[in-house]
């Protein structure tokens, strides 16, 4: 089947199988920043924003996402023009192997869009679907707090 998506503010049309997940379709078409981890909705490395809502792309059938807006971490910013959250993760040393980082940044973006001044408990809950096997989360939490502070100050 064929389907169109608005990915990072760009209209794209792809061919894919009826049972393909959004993760498979995105990766096959060059969006390799969406990481393939557990493929079972447990690790959060594949999360994207689907019409602004954080979802595991491995748990979304592509056919159900046609016509929708999809944002990957690349849609937030890049190395030349990073989003404040991406910069905060780098500045706080919250990146080790980097595999979970796109998911962590999108989960942080989803949280801070709704709640610009989250408590530690709210950060913990917002990132409960993202697993990091390197850093132990301390630096990641530092990065979320740093990003929140910078974004508030910037506003």
């Amino acid at each position: 089947m064929k389907g169109s998506f608005e990915i990072n503010r760009e209209e794209r049309t792809f061919s894919f199988e009826d049972t393909d997940t959004l993760l498979e379709v995105l990766r096959e078409n060059g969006y390799r920043e969406v990481k393939k981890g557990c493929s079972g909705g447990n690790c959060g490395s594949c999360v994207v924003l689907l019409d602004g809502i954080l979802v595991n792309s491995c748990q979304v059938l592509a056919a159900s996402a046609t016509g929708k807006e999809i944002t990957t971490v690349r849609g937030l910013g890049n190395i030349h023009n990073p989003h404040p959250i991406q910069k905060a993760f780098a500045d706080a040393g919250a990146v080790q192997c980097g595999f979970c980082t796109p998911g962590m940044i999108l989960a942080t973006y989803s949280l801070l869009s709704r709640n610009p001044d989250p408590s530690d408990e709210e950060i913990r809950r917002a990132l409960d679907g993202n697993i990091c096997r390197c850093t132990g989360y301390v630096k990641i939490f530092d990065a979320v707090r740093l990003a929140a502070r910078r974004m508030r100050d910037h506003d």
Binding site: M1, D18, T19, T21, G41, N42, G44, V47, I53, L54, V55, N56, C58, Q59, V60, L61, A63, S64, A107, S110, R125, A126, L127, D128, G129, I131
Partner: protein, 270 residues
């Protein structure tokens, strides 16, 4: 396999009558189940199934509401509802943003954080059949009395009654699916337990309401010092799970239940 994108419940219900056709809400249950024997998927996102409202007697929740949307909706409508506590702890944020009420009822996984509270609350489900929506008590639907109706679950009605509530779940690690969960609703009045409902999910029969224990506790004083549970009233058993025996789960459920009762009763005194 074909995909269908109906715009009305009637249209969806009509397609679902065909052999091998299944509804697609959030899709998480389907991906776990696999696509064997499925000839068609009926995407429900074009139907207006995210409605919610309430009157003095009932709260209505559309079956297309995700767990996250349900928590947000109930927080505004009914802030002490046990479902806020249970659904906030289900799975993880990106999955709660995708799992729908309707899908979770139709699928009823053994680790469901939805079904115990719904059963305890006395929820009814709305099914869109061939002509018009019909309402059944959730228990009747689960018992299979209405399974011949291949209609579409379009919503839930929950009796709007004030209960004190407690919700507990057993997981090996916090982000794991629960091995079992317990819902307790309590209505205290003038220092006694006027009404109580206790439901365990994850048992051999998927879900048990402990009516004998409820009857034992009703009209007892809230100040009772000893709430140790009579063993003969704990009529539930557990299936064997990987690395965990049924006996261990039974013991764990008994401890969790005693802790829950103790906390909810103590909470209603203070």
């Amino acid at each position: 396999m074909d995909w269908y994108y109906p715009s009305t419940p009637a249209e969806a219900a009509r397609i679902l009558e065909e052999e091998g056709h299944m509804p697609h809400g959030g899709g998480t249950g389907l991906l776990r189940r696999g696509f064997r024997d499925i000839r068609g998927l009926v995407d429900l996102s074009g139907l207006k199934l995210k409605e919610s409202n309430s009157d003095e007697d009932w709260v209505y929740l559309g079956s297309g509401l995700t767990f996250s949307e349900t928590v947000e909706t109930l927080s505004a409508l009914w802030e002490d509802c046990i479902l806020i506590r249970s659904l906030s702890r289900a799975a993880a944020t990106p999955l709660r943003n995708r799992i729908t009420l309707g899908g979770s009822i139709a699928d009823f996984p053994l680790w469901s954080d939805l079904m115990g509270p719904l059963y305890a609350l006395g929820a009814e489900i709305e099914i869109y059949g061939e002509e018009e929506p019909l309402r059944f008590p959730l228990k009747e639907y689960l018992d299979g009395r209405h399974k011949e109706r291949k209609g579409l679950i379009t919503g839930l009605y929950i009796p709007f009654k004030r209960w004190q509530s407690w919700y507990g779940r057993y997981t090996r690690v916090t982000f794991d699916y629960p091995m079992l969960n317990i819902s307790i609703l309590l209505k205290p009045d003038a220092g006694i337990i006027r009404d109580i409902r206790i439901v365990i999910v994850g048992t051999t029969s998927k879900m048990n309401r402990l009516k004998e224990l409820e009857e034992y506790l009703i009209n007892r004083p809230l100040s009772m010092a000893d709430i140790s549970l009579p063993e003969e009233m704990l009529h539930f058993s557990f299936p064997r799970r990987k690395g965990i025996s049924p006996e261990y789960l039974h013991h764990h459920a008994s401890v969790l239940l005693e802790r829950g009762l103790s906390e909810i009763i103590r909470g209603s005194i203070s």
